[in-house]
């Protein structure tokens, strides 16, 4: 078993950082917000230990965290090596016993006893772990107590710590509180904070094999006023996959600018939060090194679609997925991403290129059709077709469709239902 310990600086959120590494290994344990332990022996076919450490360091640097990393055969040793500046287990100072006795900081009430024992050991001239291991095991419990015996046994490779299931948080959220002494009054400082927050969100979701599809940016003002609420909630939609954080940031910036321009901020901002509201599977693809232009075009395409979706809503920019159905309003539906169309050959009679969202009642009198304040003389009633639709709909029941050929060359698709004619499409 090989354990990587990431010793975090103070006030870090260990759970959210651990989620980033969930991609590498599901065996993760935490020592509160102080350290993360990753069991990496199963991923050694992908990365060597040194590669893993370098990758982890780059990832941590990306989210602005400087951490101490170490590798060892067990949790306690990994933590001790990350804490004390020594190269091997035997050279560790005797103070490391606290990490052997309680590596996950689950029993803080025992810490007093361990510290007392360490003090006693030091007074006896025992400075390192190597010195400590020279004491016979039968002397440990009567002289220093059972907790030190436990640490002794762990040093000898006994009493392994079980790997409980690591569960990522259900809601992916990142926030930053601004210094209350100098809270920002405009968006410029907010953007400097937004980028690392987006990086963290991206990496956390990537760890679960997912990507962000929709998220809210919540800006909290210092006070609420009668005119405006305390919080600004700006939804961002990322319609397509493979969008880089840079692109997401640009989309978010544009949207925030537009919202604040329309409804200016009234008070300084004290907090910014990002809450993921919808996720989608992360699909990996190999970058085409030999066709940079193609890569750039794809990126700008995803950027464009996401900008359109953020402005118009998720239904605003879409691809069409067609399916075989006799009812014309059910022959296609909107999909956010390209889908493979299964229909090769249509067995349904010709449909009009223009189809109204709702059939519109049209008067037809004396062989004249009246539409948009114009009258069209009908030359021919063609292609009668009988369709049955749901009886509970307004135009439900039996519909008898006709293609009306007019003298002007305009062709309409109308149907008769309950003694009323409806215009449903135009063969344009």
């Amino acid at each position: 078993m090989r354990i990587v310990c990431i010793k975090l600086p103070k006030h870090s959120d260990a759970q959210s950082i651990a989620e980033i590494f969930y991609r590498a290994t599901p065996q993760i344990r935490l020592r509160h917000n102080e350290a993360i332990f990753l069991e990496v022996s199963k991923c050694q076919h992908l990365y060597s230990e040194s590669t893993f450490i370098k990758r982890a360091q780059i990832t941590l640097k990306r989210i602005g965290i400087t951490a101490e990393l170490s590798v060892a055969d067990d949790i306690s040793t990994a933590l001790s090596l990350a804490t004390f500046p020594v190269m091997n287990k035997d050279a560790l100072p005797v103070d490391a016993l606290i990490y052997y006795a309680d590596p996950l900081a689950q029993y803080p009430e025992q810490h007093g006893r361990i510290l007392k024992a360490i003090h006693l050991l030091k007074s006896l001239g025992i400075r390192t772990i190597a010195d400590f291991l020279t004491i016979p095991s039968y002397d440990i419990s009567p002289r220093f107590g059972p907790i030190v015996l436990l640490a002794y046994q762990r040093l000898l490779g006994q009493h392994e710590i079980p790997w409980n299931e690591f569960r990522p948080r259900e809601v992916v959220e990142e926030s930053h509180e601004f210094d209350l002494a100098y809270p920002p009054r405009d968006l410029e400082p907010v953007y400097f904070t937004l980028r690392p927050l987006l990086d963290r969100i991206y990496l956390r979701l990537r760890g679960r094999g997912q990507r962000v599809r929709q998220f809210n940016i919540i800006l909290q003002q210092e006070y609420a006023t009668r005119k405006s609420p305390q919080t600004y909630k700006v939804p961002i939609i990322i319609q397509l996959p493979f969008v880089s954080v840079k692109t997401i940031f640009q989309i978010a910036k544009e949207k925030l600018d537009a919202v604040v321009q329309r409804k200016p901020l009234e008070h300084p901002i004290i907090k910014i939060s990002l809450v993921v509201t919808e996720e989608a599977p992360y699909l990996t693809s190999q970058r085409d090194l030999f066709d940079q232009k193609k890569e750039e075009t794809s990126e700008s395409f995803f950027h464009l679609v996401s900008r359109l979706a953020t402005k118009l809503g998720s239904d605003g920019a879409f691809f069409a997925h067609v399916k075989e159905n006799y009812l014309p309003e059910r022959t296609w539906f909107r999909v956010p991403e390209k889908s493979i169309t299964t229909i090769q050959e249509s067995h349904i009679p010709e449909r009009p290129l223009r189809l109204l969202k709702e059939p519109r009642p049209v008067p037809i009198q004396d062989n004249y059709l009246f539409h948009n304040r114009m009258q069209y003389e009908i030359k021919e009633w063609k292609n009668p077709e009988v369709l049955l639709s749901n009886w509970w709909e307004i135009s439900g029941g039996e519909r008898v469709y006709y293609k009306l050929v007019t003298h002007t060359g305009d062709n309409f698709w109308v149907f008769k239902n309950k003694e009323q004619y409806y215009l449903h499409g135009i063969f344009e």
């Binding site: 691809f319 449909r351 290129l353």
Partner: protein, 178 residues
């Protein structure tokens, strides 16, 4: 024998003074309009069969990346499929009240080789902007109108109709080197 005065055409006069503009921009051929459509051109299509005419152009060029922008989507993708159009490369955009913004974004993105829209009462300024953007991005901009617009902006104005399966394509106006 009476003296006959032959009036030269504008093209001949231009050639005489060396002012002939040769357009070396790539063109997309089209069986219904043999001259084809030059990239970066603004084409207004009117007439009762304008959408079908456009669909047939798309059928002949299945690899083109298309953006179909409308205020409210009335185009029927199923019917496009029936006409043989490949839907995989068509992004539909329902612009609602932001159609002008959507068209500007789509045209300037450079991701599409053709952008199709319906005339939803664009003003002269909007049309000029679309024309410049399409020229810059080298894509076709198709404007489908019920009747020919009075605007000077389109490079090519076509009126299309179909009677008994026979297409009648008239070029109402040409501008520039098209």
């Amino acid at each position: 024998m009476a003296l006959q005065i032959v009036k030269p055409s504008i093209a001949e006069l231009r050639e005489l003074i060396g002012a002939t503009k040769h357009d070396d921009r790539p063109r997309h051929s089209f069986s219904l309009y043999p001259a084809g459509f030059t990239t970066g051109s603004f084409i207004e299509i009117t007439g009762s069969q304008r959408t079908e005419f456009t669909a047939l152009f798309l059928r002949e060029h299945p690899k083109l990346k298309i953006a179909w922008v409308e205020d409210s989507i009335t185009i029927n993708p199923y019917a496009l499929k029936q006409k043989g159009v490949c839907l995989d490369n068509i992004l539909f955009v329902e612009g609602k009240k932001d159609t002008v913004w959507c068209l500007s974004q789509v045209l300037s993105s450079g991701c599409f080789q053709a952008v199709i829209t319906e005339n939803s009462r664009f003003n002269e300024k909007d049309l000029r902007r679309f024309q410049l953007l399409s020229e810059k991005a080298q894509n076709h901009f198709f404007l489908l109108s019920a009747s020919p617009s009075a605007s000077w902006v389109p490079h090519l104005q076509l009126k299309v109709s179909k009677t008994a399966g026979e297409w009648d394509v008239q070029a109402l106006r040409k501008r520039g080197a098209l």
